[in-house]
Structures are given as C-alpha cells and as structure tokens.
Symmetry: C2
Subunit: 239 residues, 2 copies
C-alpha cells in the first residue's frame, strides 16, 4: 500500500479479533460459554471466548477455529452466524482492536475443555452473566452479549434455528422447551405442536418414540431442511 493511497486524516492499522457468543440450553436456562482471562488486560475477569484472526484466515474460519480450541466442539455440529463488528475506540486498552462477533447455537455440550492458554471455560446462565448490566465482563462483551441475546430471540421467531439447540432426535416438547427458555415465557403445548407440524419440513418425523420415563411416549423428530419460518412464531407482548 503506497502512501498516496492513504487518506488525509490519521489512519492506523488495527488488530482484528473474533469473539464468540456460544449459547446452549442447560438446566432449564439459556447459558453462554464464558472464559476466565489468564492474562492482561482484564486478567482474571470473565469474557467471551475469542482470539486473534490469523494472517491468511477468514473471519468465519477464525471463529470456527476458536470455537474448536475453546470448547472442542466441531462447528459443523452447530449453527454459526455473524453478529457484527465492534470497533469503538478504547474498547481494548492495548490499542485499536476491532472485533467481529459470532453467534453460535448448539445442543447441550459436554463441559468445555481447558482452553489453549489454560483459561477456565464454563457455562453460565445468560441472566446471571448480565447481572449488574454485565459490568463484570471484560471489554465491551456485555454489549455484544446483549446484542446476541436479542438476535437469538428474534431468530427463534422467524427461523427454525431453535432446533439447533436440540440433540437429534428430539421431541416436540423439547423443542417447545427451547422457546420457553429463550423467550422466558410459557407456550401453549397444543398450539405450539400444531404450528410446528403445520410448517412443512420444520421437523421430520423419525417414526420412533421415546422410551418414556413418565407418561405417554413422545414421537421423535429430526431437523427439517426448512430454514425460514413463515408464518412466524411470534412471542406474546412484542411491540
């Protein structure tokens, strides 16, 4: 890049990172994977997993790599999408760092492996992570987490990604449970079933049933190919 190509105003290069908001449903709660930072800045503080983007590495590729390194989860097993870029000056005390955040949704996963740099990773209920406005989180991760939560809630309305939270095969009740936990409100089981089954290829029947623990055995389904949910499944009390 030659000098003539640079603009008049001061321009400095930046470090580029990816941060991951990894959601799952555990213990009747929406949980997010957080790590304890092993070094400065924000050493000992809680943060989203993430790291630097390699020289010849795409953004999504970097996100998949970080996901693997932090959790041992293969990104092919879950839904991954970009949330957006965050680049407020001063968001990282080391200098100009622009991060691209990714949202990952997956079924209940094993306890995460220790990270590459021995950072402790653990699942935390989102509600708890946002306690006190999320001020205990490093960087601007509270902002990113709030954006991710809002995005996930919206996505449940207009797409079929709720099924990404379920381990196949799953029951309609388990799928409904995902909605109830993410939205924080109960849904009518009867109407939910009608809606989901009416939307062709949201879920596909396997023909199998659960070995019931209590009550009548439930039919088991797999994810269908349909991605967009129309008409949408709206949460009550939106404005």
């Amino acid at each position: 890049m030659d000098h003539a190509d640079r603009p008049d105003r001061p321009v400095t290069s930046a470090w580029v990172t990816v941060d991951l908001v990894i959601f799952t449903v555990r213990d009747d709660a929406l949980q997010v994977l957080l790590v304890e930072r092993g070094k400065e800045p924000f050493q000992g503080r809680t943060a989203l997993p993430g790291g630097y983007v390699g020289t010849d590495e795409g953004l999504e590729q970097a996100a998949r790599r970080e996901l693997w390194e932090e959790t041992g989860v293969d990104s092919h097993d879950l839904h991954l999408e970009q949330l957006g870029g965050y680049g407020t000056p001063g968001r990282d005390p080391r200098g100009r760092v622009v991060t691209v955040a990714y949202l990952a949704l997956g079924p209940e996963m094993p306890e995460p492996v220790a990270g590459t740099d021995a950072r402790r990773a653990h699942w935390t209920p989102v509600e708890k992570a946002l306690d006190d406005e999320g001020r205990h989180l490093a960087f601007d991760h509270a902002v990113i987490l709030r954006d991710a939560l809002e995005r996930a809630r919206k996505q449940l309305e207009y797409t079929t990604i709720a099924s990404a939270f379920c381990t196949e095969p799953f029951t309609i009740s388990e799928l409904r449970h995902v909605y109830e936990v993410v939205w924080g409100q109960p849904l009518d089981p009867s109407n939910f079933r009608r809606k989901v089954l009416k939307a062709e290829r949201f879920v596909v029947a396997t023909g199998q049933r659960t070995a019931s623990v209590a009550g009548r055995p439930a039919a088991l389904y797999r994810r269908g190919e349909k991605k967009l949910l129309v008409p949408a499944l709206l949460r009550a009390g939106e404005e």
Copy 2:
C-alpha cells in the same frame, strides 16, 4: 501490546475500512449510490463508497463521515445500520483489509457531490448494479450489495423503515410504492392501506392533503414512532 500477548499462529494487523450501501427509491426503481474509483486498486472500476476508519473514530462514526463526504447527506436524515464485517483474505490486493459494511436508507436525494478525491458518484438501479452477478464491481462489493438488498427486503417486512425512503409528508400510495419497488411485486392498495393504518403509529396523519395532480387528493402522513411492525407485512411467495 507486548509479545507475550500474541498467539502462536502468525498474526498481522489489518487496515479497517467502512463501506456504505446507500439505497434510495428513484424513477420507480431501488437505486444504490456507486462511485468510480480514482486510484488503484480497481482504478476506474465501480465500487461502493467507503474509506478508512480514523485512529480515534468509531465504526458508525466513520460511516456517517463517509456518507457526508461522499454524498453531502447528513446521516441524521436517514436510517443507518450495520450490515456486518467482511474480511476474506485477499479481498483487497493491498493486503489485509477488513471492512465493516453499513446500510443506509434515505428519501430521494440530490445528485451526489463530487467526492473528496474527485471520484464520480452516481445513482444506479440495484438490478443493473448486479448485472452479470455484479462482477464489474470492485473488491467483494457484489457480495456486500446482495447482502444489503436481502437485508433491506427483510426489514420492510418486520419494521417500519420503508418510511425512511419517503420524504415527509408522504401519502400511503407513496409508501406502498416503496414496497412495490423494493420487493418487485405489486401490492393491493386497499389491503395495504388497511394494514398500515391498523398498525398504530406506523404513520401519523398530518390532516393535510396533496394538491392533486390527477384524481382525488390524498391524505398526507409523517413517520410514526413505531419501529417494529407486528404483525409483519409479508411478501408473497416466500419460503
């Protein structure tokens, strides 16, 4: 940033830019503002307006500045939102450049002023800009433009931003025209009116009427405070 802070794999810093997809409705078509590049790389080629992010400048702030510099439009007069980050290695031949794209929607604007570096800016129908898969566009701007188009079409369904395309005060027909042009399909005038007026505070009546050119004068409205449109105004034939 000290050495110990860097990861094992090679990491280089990157240049950060913002690119703008500025949409408006003109001459019965959705149009996008494109510039002719005055310098390498891609000299003489068509591209989205954009530029480097300043050292102490936020991403959105940079987008607003570029918007002003390229078009003379005050960003307060239109809707601005982030589309996402684009960082595929090799997307810019000068080296690692990560761009954050913004989507701007505005009412019909004057012909753009010449850019700061004498690049010629002009409105182009989106359909034409995407001719031949948009291969004539510089960088990966065809990809960004397609993403922006899809985002704008979606936004019309679930939000009230269509009104951002209208100069106040506007008629219901003008608002409907925006939908028809962006979606590329005709809408029933009667049902559209009912829907828009039923959604409280999507538009607010001014009490005035058009000085009619032909036919009965139409009532004039301003934008209401409502942002989310529920129930949504769905386009036909979605899947």
